[in-house]
Amino acid sequence: MASLVSLHNVIKRYVRGKQTIEVLHQLDLEVPAAQFLALMGPSGSGKTTLLNLIGGLDRPTSGEIIVAGEHIQNLSSGQLAKWRARHVGFVFQFYNLMPMLSAERNIELPLLLTSLSSAQRKRNVAAALELVGLTSHAKHKPAELSGGQQQRVAIARALIADPTLLVCDEPTGDLDRASAGEILGLLQLLNRDQQKTIVMVTHDQKAADYASRILHVDKGQLIEAAVKSAA
C-alpha cells in the first residue's frame, strides 16, 4: 500500500541555552494509508516530537517529511496552517476544547475555515456528534462533560473536516480504563471502517495493542515492535 506519511533522514535538534539537543537522529519512517500506528517509548525519547513533525506542528532541522503527497517542511507558516486544516485531525491527552464553546461549537470550529454554509456545517456537526455518540450532549460545555465525553468531542472535532490523517497524542492518558477502552475502540473503528490513517503516541501497551502497528521510539531512533495483519 502507498505511504501516506514518509520521513527521510529527519533530524530534529533543539537549542536550550548553550546546549543543542538532537532529539531525532536521521529518522526514516513510512506509514501506509489506512494504518493505525502506535508510537511508544519512554519520556524524552522523541515520540511526541515525531508526532508534531508528522502533524505539521513543528519543522525538522533537516530531512524530508511528505504527508499526503506534500513536502510539508517547505511550506510557509500560513501554508502549513491551511494544510493542517485540510489534512490533519488532532486529538490531545487533555482534549484541548474551548471552554466557552458548547460541544457542537467546538466540533464546528475547524469548519469555520472552510467555505461550507451554516446549514452544511450544522449537518456535518450533527453527523459527527452521532458518530461519537454524543448527540444528546450537543449543547453541553466541556465543563459539563466527563473526561471520556470530552475526548469524544475532541475526536469529533478532529474528524469533522474529514482529514487524511488523525494524529493522537496520548488520547487516553487522562482517562480511566473504561473510558480509555471506549475511545480506543472508537479510533479502531474509524481506522477499520472509515480507513482513517492514525498515528498515536502512547505510554500504555494496552492502548498500543489497539493499533495495527507498533513502533518504539528510543533515543531518537525507531524500532519496529509489531505489525499485525488487518483485523
Binding site: A81, R84, A85, F90
Partner: protein, 385 residues
C-alpha cells in the same frame, strides 16, 4: 459573520471584567461626546458671527452714550447702525430667567435677519411702545401667546418708579432657526420704552452694531470708530461680530485646551486600561489560541480575532457612550438654555470622529496582544498548561 460568535464569546469570556471595561469606555466616550458637543456648539456660535458686522462696546463694560450714534453713522463704509441694551429678569419666578434686549426696532431686524418673524408681528412690535417679542421656545415653555400682558421682574434694571417690575404687551414670537441660541430665553423690547422708564444710565446703550459694506475694511473702520472716541470718557472697543463672540468665549477660558486636555487624559488612561485588559485576556487564552492554530487557523487569523475582539469591545462601548451623549446633550442644552446658555447638540461629525477614535484606540490597545498572538508557537504554548 461566521466568526462573529467566536469573537463575541471571546469578548464575554470574563463577564465581570468585560462589564467594567465596557463601563470605563462608555464613560470616557460619554465625556468625549459631552465635551466635544459643548465645544462644537460654542465654535458654531463663534462661526456664525459675521465678518461684515462690527460690534462696539466699552472696554470696561460701561454703557455707551446714545449721542455717539450720529458720529458712528457718519463713518465711511458703514451702511447701517443699530444698538441695544440688555438686562436680566425673571418671569413669575427665578426658575424662569429671561434675557431682555431693548432694541432699536427700526434697524434691529434689518441687521439681524437670523431673527425670523412675520411682517405683521414685526409691524406690531414697531408700533407698540410697550410691545415685546419672545422666542418661540420660551413662549411654548411658559405658555405665552400674543395679547398676553407679561410682567418681568428685572434683576439689574431699576425703573424710575422705584420698582424693577416691567410690564409688556406680547405682540408675537420670533425664531432663530439653526442657531445655538435658538432656545435661549430672549425677550425683545423697544429701546425707547426702556430708556424713558429706567432710573439709571438714561441715554446710553450697551453696544452698537454696525453693518459695513466691505468686510475687508472691518479693521480700518473699527480703528476709525475707536479713534473717534479715544479721548472721550466713553472709549469704544470695536471688532467684528465673530471676534466679539470669540472674545466672550475666551472669557470662559481656553475651552479647546480644557476639552482636549480632559479628553486626552481620559483616552490615555483608557488606552492603558484596555491594553492591559487585552493582554491579560490574551495570557489567559494562550493555550486556546495554540489549539486554534493547531486546527488550522493561521497566525494572522488568530491575530485578527484578537484585534476583532478589541474593536467589538471598544467600538461597541464607545458607540453606547456617544449615543448616551447624543441623548443627554439636548436635554442638558434645554436646561442650560433657560439660563441663557446656547442650546447643545452632538453633531454627526463629532459622533463619527468618536467612532474613529474608538477604532484607533482598539487597534492601539490590541496591538501588543495581537502581535504576541501572531508570534505564538504551537509547541511552546501547548507545552504550558
Amino acid at each position: 459573520m461566521k466568526f462573529f460568535r467566536l469573537i463575541w464569546i471571546g469578548v464575554w469570556r470574563k463577564k465581570v471584567r468585560t462589564i467594567f471595561t465596557v463601563l470605563s469606555i462608555v464613560v470616557a466616550f460619554l465625556l468625549f461626546g459631552m465635551l466635544q458637543g459643548i465645544d462644537t456648539t460654542f465654535k458654531q456660535l463663534v462661526n456664525q458671527g459675521r465678518l461684515n458686522v462690527l460690534i462696539a462696546t466699552n472696554p470696561a463694560g460701561l454703557p455707551l452714550p446714545l449721542a455717539d450714534l450720529s458720529e458712528i453713522e457718519a463713518v465711511p463704509g458703514i451702511t447701517r447702525v443699530t444698538y441695544r441694551s440688555l438686562f436680566i429678569g425673571d418671569y413669575q419666578s427665578l426658575r424662569n430667567i429671561v434675557i431682555v434686549l431693548p432694541v432699536d426696532s427700526d434697524n434691529f431686524f434689518a441687521e439681524n435677519p437670523m431673527f425670523s418673524l412675520s411682517p405683521a408681528v414685526r409691524a406690531a412690535f414697531l408700533h407698540a411702545r410697550t410691545g415685546a417679542l419672545v422666542a418661540q421656545s420660551l413662549a411654548a415653555r411658559l405658555g405665552l401667546k400674543a395679547g398676553d400682558r407679561i410682567p418681568i421682574h428685572a434683576l439689574n434694571a431699576l425703573k424710575k418708579d422705584g420698582t424693577s417690575d416691567w410690564a409688556f404687551d406680547l405682540v408675537g414670537t420670533f425664531d432663530i432657526p439653526d442657531s445655538p441660541i435658538r432656545d435661549e430665553p430672549i425677550v425683545l423690547m423697544n429701546y425707547a420704552y426702556f430708556d424713558t422708564a429706567r432710573a439709571t444710565d438714561t441715554g446710553t446703550v450697551q453696544m452698537y452694531q454696525m453693518m459695513i459694506a466691505d468686510a475687508s475694511q472691518a479693521a480700518s473702520i473699527a480703528n476709525t470708530i475707536d479713534n473717534l472716541f479715544a479721548n472721550s470718557a466713553h472709549r469704544t472697543h470695536t471688532e467684528t461680530e465673530r471676534a466679539n463672540a470669540q472674545g466672550q468665549l475666551a472669557q470662559i477660558g481656553d475651552l479647546d485646551f480644557f476639552v482636549e486636555a480632559i479628553v486626552a487624559a481620559a483616552f490615555a488612561t483608557l488606552l492603558l486600561l484596555t491594553g492591559s485588559t487585552l493582554m491579560q485576556a490574551f495570557r489567559e487564552r494562550t493555550h486556546e489560541f495554540a489549539v486554534m492554530k493547531t486546527l488550522g487557523f493561521t497566525d494572522r487569523g488568530v491575530s485578527a480575532l484578537v484585534v476583532s475582539e478589541a474593536v467589538l469591545l471598544t467600538v461597541g462601548a464607545a458607540v453606547l457612550g456617544l449615543l448616551i451623549a447624543l441623548a443627554l446633550l439636548p436635554a442638558l442644552g434645554t436646561v442650560m438654555a433657560r439660563v441663557g446658555a446656547p442650546g447643545l447638540r452632538l453633531p454627526g461629525i463629532v459622533f463619527a470622529i468618536g467612532v474613529g477614535f474608538a477604532v484607533l484606540l482598539a487597534l492601539a490597545s490590541a496591538l501588543p496582544a495581537a502581535w504576541r498572538a501572531q508570534r505564538l508557537t504551537i509547541i511552546d504554548a501547548l507545552a504550558v498548561r
